[in-house]
Amino acid sequence: MSILQYNGGAVIAMKGLNCVGICSDLRLGLQQQTVAMNFKKVFQITDKLYVGLTGLATDVLSLEHLLNFRCKLYKLKENREISPKAFGAMLSSLLYEKRFGPWFSEPVVCGLDANNNAFLSGMDLIGAPVFSDDFTVAGTCTQNLHGMCEALYRPNMDPEELFEVLSQCLLSAVDRDALSGWGAVVHIITPEGTITRTLKCRQD
């Protein structure tokens, strides 16, 4: 089994009208065995910037620590919060630094910049970014996720609709993947604030 599929996981980020959403499943496994059902893969960086990290759990945790550290340092030096675009560039650079001994993690960056414009970016494990206008997916069931998102997505959804679509895409996709699932957590980021909801799905 590939090392990126050792622990399992799935993340989707999607754009709406003046809002973005990001969600992940909650499973942590050791190949076929499930170890924990509370392992979140989406982490808050600033009020309006979230990053979802899929792949090997140890690298998800290590990268989360590293990114938090770098962003806090950025804030101390620049006296402002990091913008999603700069964060994406920093993450890309961090990943490429380890080009020949990479972090086994494929991140998804999702946030609203200072003008409340949405920013979505996905990367592979060595930092090659792709900027998206609609949705970005990562994890062990990307084919399922792509299919669901392509089918259900429409532009300019408001936060409630975005939540519905995001949840349904993730839940349906992970239901068909043995390595992801066991619940989901969804964050909808709007200029007014972030709403977080935890979902229960097929517990298998």
Binding site: V35, A36, N38, L56, L61, S62
Partner: protein, 189 residues
């Protein structure tokens, strides 16, 4: 090959480990204690390569003691778990420690159990098991575990796990060491 498992109760954590030390077809000893006390309210059980296990645990134990001397206070279980994870993660890309750990502790009137694997994946759990035994034990836990277990109920569940292993696990493990941590400290059962 080592069986290490544990669960969280109402106000305590129990960890159990087999006491067999072996390599390939030879058993070295039947009374190896794989559960080590990090301080009065923390115990850690390890499975994996014996050399890495004893070396890493001693390293962690001594560093935690040093922290206590330097800062005049002990780390919480959560902080300890993250510290251990960090050490494992740093070593992972240089010379990995092949140890799987279960850390149990009691602080702030709350028991907690952390599952750490040799790749430095960390998660807080209500019950956990490492090794081949986990295939048998996790099912018993899934069925029997509930919130706010009393000490007697928890020990009963541990007995069920040990019986399951004795019946269905290929490797004979005649002796298990079981330790409990609560507000009064560590106790061997």
């Amino acid at each position: 090959m080592d069986s290490v498992f544990g669960l969280v109760g109402k106000d305590f954590v129990i960890l159990a480990a087999d006491a067999t030390s072996s390599r390939s077809i030879l058993v070295f000893q039947h009374d190896l204690d794989k559960i080590v006390s990090l301080d009065a309210h923390k115990i850690i059980a390890s499975s994996g390569v014996a050399a890495d296990s004893s070396n890493f645990l001693e390293f962690i134990q001594r560093n935690l003691k040093l922290y206590e001397f330097d800062n005049d206070s002990k780390l919480t279980t959560n902080a300890t778990a993250n510290y251990i994870r960090n050490e494992l993660a740093i070593a992972l890309r240089k010379g990995p420690y092949q140890v799987n750990l279960l850390l149990g502790g009691y602080d702030n009137n709350e028991p907690s159990l952390y599952f750490l694997d040799y790749l430095a994946a960390l998660t807080k759990v209500r019950f956990g098991a490492h090794g081949h035994a986990s295939n048998f034990i996790l099912s018993v836990f899934d069925r029997e575990w509930k919130e706010n277990l009393t000490t007697d109920e928890a020990i009963d569940i541990i007995h069920k796990c040990i019986n399951e292993l004795k019946t269905r696990f290929l490797i004979s493990q005649p002796k298990f060491i079981v330790k409990l941590v609560n507000k009064d400290g560590t106790k061997v059962i």
